[in-house]
Amino acid sequence: MLLDTGNFTDNPTEAGDLRTAKLLESMKTLGYKAINVGERDLNLGYDDFKKRTEALGLTFISTNIVKQGTKETVFPPYKIVEVKGTSGKPVRVGVLGVDRYSPVWQKAGPAGTNLGMAAPADMIATYLPEVRAKSDVVVLLAALSKDDAHELAKRFTDLDLVVGAYGGIYNTVEETEGRIGIYYTGNQGKRIGESRINLDAKSRVADVTTYLHFLTIHYPEDKAMQDSIADILAKLPKTDPPKKAELLQKQAEAAAAPAAAGGH
């Protein structure tokens, strides 16, 4: 079961839009079950977001993006995903998603409204009880700092797992708050987290074993996906200064630290 914590959107340029569209299409192909809407995914407002995503059939959620000045969410605040467990029994996974709190964040919302960011804790407190009641496993997608994630896990002990991304921060070792695992995957798709979960007789989480896969060249390419991406790269404008500058900087960093070099 694949999840994403959001902020998948590239810069709003011609090339950036092509990349974002291809990325979303690939996420659909890979079968992502729920995606948190990040701040940068709404850089151009709600209508633009809907235009870019509505044909894909992906599930976007946000527990704390609201109509400004209200507690009314504009995306589904959570998703209950039912998957078939290895034993053959159905497993219900409740997924919530939050972004960092910002009282000044504001974007154009639907039908002339504005979007605002409610405090994650307030909104989790609102929705967690019903998510818990409907789920065997509850996962929080966190697009906020790891310190904030710990605070949330400390307060909301009905969560089972917090997975997050916030800049380049990623885990190298297990990290927990009480019984709740907190795992960050870094950025730019270089790493993918994997949590292997077993349930007890009451269908509650019995144990979780987590790995973080660093997607170096040792991981084989998927030929169909590679060809599909090559097609889009060929269509990119020849110059895309922001992205090119980023790549050059990374190449320089990799050259300076060959032991840590890797690709994806």
């Binding site: 079961m1 694949l2 999840l3 994403d4 914590t5 959001g6 902020n7 998948f8 590239d10 990349r19 974002t20 291809k22 990325l23 690939s26 948190n36 940068r40 998957v83 467990g85 290895t86 029994k89 497993v91 496993v137 996962v139 697009a143 997050g164 991304a165 916030y166 190298t172 070792v173 297990e174 795992y183 960050y184 995957t185 950025n187 730019q188 798709g189 270089k190 790493r191 993918i192 987290g193 994997e194 949590s195 292997r196 979960i197 077993n198 349930l199 074993t209 987590t210 790995y211 973080l212 896969h213 991981y219 991406i229 790269l233 992205k243 990374k250 960093e253 990799a254 070099a261 994806h264």
Partner: protein, 82 residues
């Protein structure tokens, strides 16, 4: 009348004699049993690494009931990044 000096003259040797007898009759202080081997120090609470063991691409072991995979902050990266 017994002079003070006379009393001291006898009291000190008698006191020493009594103390000597008492100490001879007192049970010897118990000999400490040989120290048990020291318990090994508790292993430091080192968190488990998230690396896949043995440099494998996928961790070995029994398939879990549920396998959750997750990404984030991909910001449009679809090509190799160095």
């Amino acid at each position: 009348m017994i002079s003070r000096r006379f009393r001291l003259r006898w009291m000190i040797p008698v006191a020493l004699l009594i103390a000597g007898i008492a100490s001879a009759q007192a049970p010897a202080p118990p000999v400490a049993p040989p120290a048990a081997p020291a318990a090994p120090a508790a292993a430091p609470n080192v968190p488990r690494t998230l690396d896949v063991p043995d440099g494998a691409l996928v961790a070995a072991g029994k398939a879990p009931e549920l396998d959750v995979l997750y990404t984030g902050d991909v910001i449009g990266f679809i090509e190799p990044c160095g």
